[in-house]
Amino acid sequence: MDYSQFLVMKQEIALLVVFLLVFLCDTFMPKRSQGAIGWISIIAFAVATVFGFCPDLIYATGNAFSGMYSSGTAEIAIKNVLNIGALIVMIQALRWAQQDMVKVRRGEFYELLLVTLFGMYLMISSRHFLLFVIGLETASLPLAAMVAFDKHRYESHEAAVKYVLTAVFSSAIFLLGLSFVYGLTGTLYFDGIAVATMASGISTLLVISLAFVIAGIGFKLSLVPFHLWTADVYQGAPTPVTSYLSVISKGAAAFAFLIVLWKAFGTVYSQAWEWMLYALIILTITIGNLFAMRQRNMKRFLAFSSISQAGYIMLGVIAFNSLGLTALMYYVLVYIFSNLAAFGVIGAIENATGKVHMDDYKGLYKTNPRLAFTMMLAMFSLAGIPPFAGFFSKFFIFTGAINQGSVAIYVLVLIALINTIISLYYYLLVVKAMFISQDDCTIANFRSACSERFALWVCVAGIIGVGIVSCVYNYLYQMA
């Protein structure tokens, strides 16, 4: 075996080094200096993130393990995007990890996070379903432990159990679909499947197996109707884990989904999965919106909002062109900043006061104007109001989809547009609670932790800057 092919996996290796470092520190560092573990992870991971932007990486692309693994420029770019998001999550988690009940195991949080990220890397880069499944499971199972991290809270257990059970079920369905695919084509390589389906054409079994594969990955993305776990898990999990689930996990799955559908099943695009995805997108956006309208718990509210956002991300997949790929990565990046800003505010308030209900946010503007302002920016960006980044990401994702050219897609984009109006309603509900209903201020003025403020500043800079500073889009455009 040619061991030099490991060198293609530079980002994975960097991540493993960070993981090992954190693991060793966690194991061997004396108890009293454990407080530094968070910062060690963050700094080490920041170095790995910066490493991802090395220009040399672009020239070191290629395949490994007889084509099971592939790292191209687009993969590098999406991994960089995810790194940025994971870094922000790690910073936001610092304060939460210092709580008494969590303190003893805080090293494990960072280890689990890095491991799941590693799994997502594998999902993104795999070109063989075996490797893909390994990545998927590596990215799923440790998440259950993370969801249950607040052992002292009942909701946290409940969420973890729900997550594990549904995840196992969806894995089973996914593997069933894969075995059908293997039976039909005799290979698990994406290229091989594409060639075989091209030759054999569409068949009933292929469509069924494709539906199962889509259901399996759709679970990670929480596409309707595979989404029902989302709200309960998001609500029960600790806030940093929720934000990680809603942003990083979702972004990685979206990109992997795109790779699977384009590379393995690209030849049956218009015969099969274009229409499945079409239906799923409409369902996801609409039902996500309809549920989001009724939520009063902020975390649950953002769970449904993130379901509907996943539908928008899928527009980049259905576009089936390079513009769609760029738009998807850009959307994920913008979504990271916007959603993490929202979760950052929620986390800060929860850490300080323990309140997560929307009614508690009434009059927040009076007591904590900066947090309220950040939240407002996040809501505007999620709703897609110019000139914030969310507007540009929606614009590009719609452009990508429309460039596909068929009339059906125009209708789809129109439906998505109508849904943005609906979404505006519930995003503005939060803004209204904070700014307009000023009669009762249940949350007193408090000073959030330095780490939380820093993370929020980064997110605000992203929300304002990413849309206007065009080099971000150009970077992704060139990488795609």
Partner: protein, 677 residues
């Protein structure tokens, strides 16, 4: 050329805007004002260095061996790339006119920054409310205006064009508690926005046919030898014209599409530069603080329209029909505004109409410029007048500001006979009047003389017409001068409260601008700013170049006209006498029309309120209220109902979740199979 300086020229004012806008309220008034002024002072130095490097360094990227000045793009970054051809760039272009504006804008802006330190306080030294905001807006304006003149492409220009409009809106409405200021700012914004609609359509037509926004591609003049220069694209204006004529639809409603595009673009210029019939906003804009009027509504923003035409001049040369329209609009406006200026009472209104009239001079000058005649003398003259006018008109406005600050009223009826009390203001105002009237050797004489020479070369009719307007200019300026400083003695009830000259922050800018107004006429523009970059005359530039190349037959006549006009004004207004009243009673109808600005505002009022609001807006409002709102209400109703209907799915029971999951996957497969196979 290094990009640091040009970049700083734009970044510093933007930074000052953000700093003063975001943190201004936490600073003391004095600190905010000083910071703003220092920032502008830095920009002043930097842009002088940049402009002088461009004009005098002789570097090969700026000037060829033959003495021909070139367009030089300092930087040009891609901002938004929609497609391969539809790219929006932001950059910094140096050529004779942008370098000239790099002198004009920071000079006036710095003077105004300095002047406002004194002006924006009352007599007891208390700063006005919103002082920091004022400086933030001034910085924003300076940034926008600088960005406008150095634009490398017409879209960048449009962006900054709107930004100057926005900052002008903010500054006119600075006293937002005063209803007249609020309505004036709205009027200015709406009228110029309406004009910008034409501008935008013109830009779109132009770029649709040519496939480019870049000035370098649109206007690189058809000059021999330019092909060797790498900075300039090979596409010439003739090539652009060919693109239009070879297009599938070269004509539209009897005129070529290119003419349409250029006229629509000129419409944007008409709005900003207050040409008839879009001039109505400028007199009202005088509601803003006087330093703002000096900076924005006299020297810089209002000449943006002239600058726009000059920027696209090679294109206009291809379609002389558009140039003829510019001449007619300019000439009518010049005469109209001069007539109105003779009757106004508010001294700022007189200056405002005078500004309209002088800008019209520049427009006419550009309109009559042809390469055949004196190497495009009109272009040079227009730019020259832009330069000198900026200086002396800013001076006049700042003097008016000093008077208003001292007296507390805008009307000359409250002034009269101030010459003894405010000697510095008196002398500097007189210099400004002499300059605008065109008396040798003050600045206005040279530039106005060049304009009249250019008109003479084009057609004798316009020459006589514009000379008449020049005479009117001298008349109304000296009427104003005598009514403020002479007429009758100023009654002072209390010697402690006698009007007096203002603090040094206000008088220093007056003195500097007056000095510039005395010598600006000797700047050898013929060697610096010409339409194709080539010097207009043989030999070398010297201090007396302009004197040597004077056409004395034209100059003598214009000088005579000006002196006669001044003598008439002296006779009528130096001492209190019944002559003006008699004149007014002799021609009551004419006086009435002039005084009411020929009832343009009433006409607009009628058109907008009676015709547009009544016949167009009401049906649209009905449609909006019943159809669109109804649809939205319906959407909200349906959404709400659906939301209630499906809430049972989220039961919290995991068995249900798994069932739904399985059913969903199977249904997805089954329906696809049924539908597609």
């Amino acid at each position: 050329m290094d990009i640091t300086l040009p970049l700083l020229i734009l970044v510093i004012p933007l930074f000052m805007f953000l700093l003063l806008g975001l943190c201004g309220m936490k600073m003391s008034h004095r600190l905010a004002g000083t910071l703003g002024t220092l920032g502008m002072g830095t920009v002043l130095v930097l842009s002088y260095i940049t402009a002088l490097t461009y004009f005098y360094s002789g570097a090969p990227e700026f000037i060829t061996q033959a003495g021909e000045r070139l367009q030089y793009t300092v930087f040009n970054v891609t901002w938004l790339q929609f497609t391969d051809s539809l790219v929006i760039r932001l950059g910094f272009l140096l050529d004779p006119i942008s370098a000239m504006m790099l002198i004009v804008i920071p000079t006036i802006s710095f003077m105004v920054h300095l002047y406002s330190l004194g002006y924006m306080r009352d007599h007891h030294g208390v700063y006005e409310h919103g002082f920091q905001r004022f400086y933030a807006f001034l910085s924003l304006f300076s940034f926008s205006m600088l960005g406008l003149v150095v634009a490398t492409n017409i879209f960048q220009m449009y962006i900054f064009w709107e930004l100057v409009g926005a900052s002008s809106y903010l500054l006119i409405g600075f006293y937002y508690k005063k209803p007249s200021a609020v309505s004036a700012s709205k009027k200015a914004f709406i009228v110029t926005r309406f004009a910008d609609l034409g501008f935008l359509i013109g830009i779109l037509i132009l770029s649709f046919y040519t496939g480019t926004f870049n000035f370098a591609d649109l206007t690189s003049a058809p000059v021999d030898g330019i092909a060797n220069v790498s900075q300039v694209s090979l596409t010439t204006a003739e090539g652009i014209k060919a693109m239009f004529t070879n297009s599938p639809a070269p004509m539209f409603m009897g005129a070529s599409v290119m003419t349409w595009a250029l006229v629509l673009i000129f419409m944007g210029g008409m709005g900003k530069s207050a040409m008839m019939p879009l001039h109505i906003w400028l007199p009202d804009a005088m509601e803003g603080p006087t330093p703002v009027s000096a900076l924005i509504h006299a020297a810089t923003m209002v000449v943006a329209g002239v600058y726009l035409v000059a920027r696209l001049f090679p294109l206009y040369l291809m379609e002389t029909a558009a140039l003829d329209i510019i001449v007619v609009v300019g000439a009518l406006t010049a005469f109209y505004a001069a007539m109105v200026a003779c009757t106004q009472i508010d001294i700022k209104r007189v200056l405002a109409f005078s500004t309209i009239s002088q800008i019209a001079f520049m427009m006419v000058s550009l309109g009559v410029a042809r390469p055949e005649f004196h190497h495009g003398l009109g272009y040079m003259a227009g730019m020259f007048h832009l330069f000198t006018h900026a200086m002396f008109k800013a001076l006049l406005f700042l003097c008016a500001g000093a008077l208003i600050h001292a007296i507390g009223s805008n009307d000359y009826t409250a002034m009269h006979g101030l010459r003894k009390y405010m000697p510095i203001t008196h002398i500097t105002f007189l210099i400004g009047c002499l300059a605008i009237a065109g008396i040798i050797p003050f600045a206005g004489f040279f530039s106005k003389d060049e304009i009249l020479t250019a008109c003479f070369g084009h057609s004798i009719v316009w020459y006589i017409w514009m000379s008449l307007v020049a005479g009117l200019t001298a008349f109304y300026m000296f009427r104003l001068y005598y009514l403020i400083f002479w007429w009758k003695e100023h009654k002072v009830h209390d010697p402690h409260h006698a009007p007096h000259d203002q603090p040094w922050t206000m008088t220093l800018p007056l003195v500097i601008l007056a000095a510039i107004s005395c010598v600006a006429g000797f700047v050898p523009f013929g060697f610096l700013v010409t339409w194709n970059g080539k010097p207009m005359f043989e030999g070398h530039a010297s201090f007396f170049t302009n004197l040597e190349h004077l056409d004395w037959s034209v100059a003598g006549i214009s000088l005579a006209v000006a002196i006669i006009a001044i003598l008439i004004a002296t006779a009528m207004y130096k001492k209190e006498n019944p002559l003006p009243e008699k004149m007014r009673n002799a021609l009551p109808r004419l006086w009435d029309w002039c005084y009411h600005r020929f009832y343009w505002d009433e006409l607009y009022q009628f058109i907008t309120h009676k015709i547009i609001f009544g016949c167009i807006c009401k049906p649209i409002a009905w449609f909006d209220r019943h159809i669109i709102d109804g649809a939205m209400d319906g959407l909200a109703y349906v959404t709400n109902k659906a939301s209630v209907a499906i809430k049972g799915f989220q039961s919290g029971k995991i068995q249900m979740y798994v069932w739904f999951y399985l059913a969903g996957a199977l249904l997805l497969g089954a329906i696809t199979v049924i539908c597609l196979i």
